[in-house]
Amino acid sequence: MIETYDLSKQYNKDFWAVDGVNLQVQPGQILALLGQNGAGKTTTVRMLTSLLSPTRGWARVGGYDVTKHPKDVRANVGVLTEQHGLYMRMTGEEYLEYFGKVYGLDAATRTKQSKYLLDYFGLAEAAPRRSGEYSKGMKQKLALARALIHDPSVLLLDEPTSAMDPESAQLVRNEISRLRSSRRTIIICTHNLAEAEALSDQIAIIYRGKILLNGTLEELKRAVLGPVEYEATFAYEFDAGDLDLPPGVKLADRTTTSLRFRVDAPRESNPKLLMALTAQNAPLLSFHEVPKKLEHVYLKTMADAQGVTYAS
């Protein structure tokens, strides 16, 4: 589990890189930390790995306080850093063997874990080669394997699929999902919003060190983009006239072949809305939720934070 309260970091006495961050990530959950470059994601992760000491507030990672028990925190965390950080003159297998020793694994566990990770990430063949000869994606996969070598209970992953081809990225996403189902606590810092949407249970948007939004994707969508919208499309032009809308439903937009409704409580209102449309003999072709992507949430939040208008 990861818990933070008022977690803050100040540099040079006048710059707050992270300011009052409150997070709670349960085992078996993935939190996606989104934000611009320099927003404070890396500083937050570094505080969670006890590399930087908080100026204010506290954080507990895997049950250990990051200030009081830094060694225990580091032993329980697997970190994928912004830069892959590989030793270029070491082979893939030597690299995992080395970090296995650094994390205090016995020889049998090291061998087993290395073999599993190299096989899983498709690096078994390249393992005897020096990592300096690897492609960008292979380096990223090896770095991820390093973060997983000690089977940590907490994972802090900075851009886990950057530079990877789609198949490799899918492989990594599958592994992250598997780790979630084995009750690992995971934080992903990413600019890949589709990936965050697909993987995360919770999303936090950080801007200039402060968390602007934190919640599930649905909560974020509702908070930023308003109630859910549903669209009814018609087989041919249809004039709905003054449609008798059930309570909690508002007409948001209309064209000759579609109507868009803003619905506060879909479970209660949608059946009534469909009955109203049928009563009007509407040539209904489809009725579906208007997809709202995390991208819209993110861009709107950033635009609001910067005081500019968001054009979707």
Partner: protein, 478 residues
């Protein structure tokens, strides 16, 4: 202990592997290490021929140890790069963060890198020396004694530890490899000077003094390692992407520390200075203890040993005493020959000299200067005793009147220098090495400006205008 060693070895082994897999490091090292002994051997041959022609046997005997020392030093100077980039290199290549995020202890990382930094140059240094000695076997020259040979090998070891420990400190503190390389001069140049000093000792032929040099270097290296470990912080390796030199902020920090919480000079003397003195209690006790031991030891040395070199007959004692008596008149015009401002400036300069000597050596050279000065007092009193003057009376009449102020100032300044060194090698949470350095300098300055300078000014006036009169008055009773 075993776990610690495993952690250190883990870091060191990887570094070793990394270095020896890079032909760009290995090939130049091997070339330099192999070529230089041949050059030195050729130089030896030329020197042997030259000396034999002019009968310079003594110099020839000392030339070989000197050549060995230089051959040992040579690989150290260029393999220093390995140590210089130990941390900052990993930082630039982005490999440091996974290592810092691991449960390895700070000391494992630091000492692991230090071990590689020391072992690699030593491997090449000793390899180079061995090659030279093998080549030397063909020459008609005498090999250095086993004791001298041991001393030179120890000196080479001490050089390596000193240079590498300093380089590692630089590597931790520097933000780029370029900056670290620029700072390498601060390691190589002083050690090159040191080497010249040691060369003098070799040619002087005093092996015991050479042993003292080994001991001194070992102490200094130990303090440097302690400094590095005390100020090794993972945060600083990651937190400072760009170092900015904020002179205004530095000056403000310095001033704030010097002035403390006082709002007036009276408040400063009333509260800040007593607080500073309380902080100096332990260093003052150490300095006072050292002074007493040194004065007594040098007094005893002079009294016991000088008669072995100089025949002190009653007639000679009479001569010296009458010389002193006849020149007492000069004391009346002392202020013309040695004016009080000159004494004051000279003493202030010495105290600043103590500080600089202390700063570059974690107080040890500052303390050495202090010990030297105290030994002069003991020596003078010993000499007085040899010519039948009461040493206590000489101390009470010729030293104490101005010494009350001057010696107090010297003790305070030395204690402050000792504290600077102690603070530098003590871990200071939440403070960078630069901050610690600046604050300890401010602490020293507070003592210097608040106490040492006024005391030295009073002492200079008394020394020129009061002490001579007391000497004249008291002379018949000495």
């Amino acid at each position: 202990m075993r776990r610690n060693w495993e952690g250190i070895w883990l870091v060191a082994r990887r570094e070793f592997q990394d270095q020896f897999r890079d032909w760009r490091i290995v090939v130049p090292m091997i070339l330099m290490v192999s070529i230089f002994p041949f050059v030195a051997d050729n130089t030896t041959r030329q020197a042997v021929n030259f000396m034999n022609r002019f009968g310079g046997d003594i110099i020839l005997d000392r030339l070989i140890p000197f050549a060995i020392l230089v051959i040992g030093f040579f690989p150290l100077s260029f393999t220093l790069l390995v140590a210089l980039e130990a941390f900052v290199g990993e930082k630039e290549r982005g490999t440091i963060e996974p290592l810092l995020s691991s449960p390895l202890e700070d000391s494992h990382m630091y000492l692991g890198k230090l071990l590689v930094g020391v072992a690699t140059p030593l491997l090449f240094s000793y390899g180079s020396i061995t090659l030279y000695l093998l080549l030397l076997m063909r020459r008609p020259v005498e090999f250095p004694s086993a004791y001298m040979m041991t001393l030179i090998l120890l000196l080479t070891f001490a050089h390596a530890v000193l240079m590498v420990s300093a380089a590692i400190v630089i590597s931790v503190q520097a933000t780029t490899i370029r900056a670290a390389n620029l700072m390498a001069s601060f390691v190589v140049v002083p050690v090159a000077f040191l080497l010249q000093g040691e060369t003098l000792l070799i040619f002087w032929g005093n092996e015991d003094v050479l042993f003292m040099a080994v001991l001194g270097l070992t102490i200094l290296s130990g303090l440097l390692i302690r400094l590095g470990l005390a100020h090794f912080k993972r945060e600083y390796l990651l937190g400072r992407e760009i170092d900015t030199l904020n002179l205004k902020s530095m000056w403000q920090t310095f001033l704030d520390r010097v002035s403390g919480n006082a709002s007036s000079i009276f408040e400063w003397y009333g509260s800040e200075i007593p607080a500073t003195l309380r902080q100096l209690r332990t260093p003052l006790m150490v300095v006072t203890g050292l002074a007493i031991i040194t004065i007594v030891a040098s007094y005893a040395w002079v009294v016991l040993n000088v008669p072995k070199f100089i025949d002190i007959t009653p007639n000679r004692v009479q001569q010296v005493q009458s010389y002193v008596r006849n020149n007492l008149g000069n004391l009346d015009v002392l202020d013309e020959n040695v004016p009080a401002p000159w004494i004051f400036v000279s003493n202030v300069r010495s105290m600043v000299g103590f500080l600089f000597a202390g700063l570059i050596s974690f107080s040890t050279l500052g303390l050495a200067l202090f010990i030297f000065n105290m030994s002069l007092i003991g020596g003078v009193l010993g000499a007085a005793s040899l010519i039948n003057y009461s040493p206590l009376a000489v101390f009470g009449v010729a030293i104490l009147p101005h010494g009350i102020f001057e010696l107090t100032a010297v003790f305070l300044a030395t204690a402050a220098v000792l504290k600077v060194g102690a603070v530098l090698v003590t871990p200071q949470p939440d403070k960078s090495l630069g901050e610690v350095f600046l604050l300890s300098l401010a602490d020293w300055f507070r003592v210097f400006i608040g106490l040492v300078v006024p005391l030295l000014a009073i002492a200079a006036v008394i020394e020129v205008y009061v002490t001579p009169q007391i000497i004249k008055l008291a002379f018949p009773y000495l």
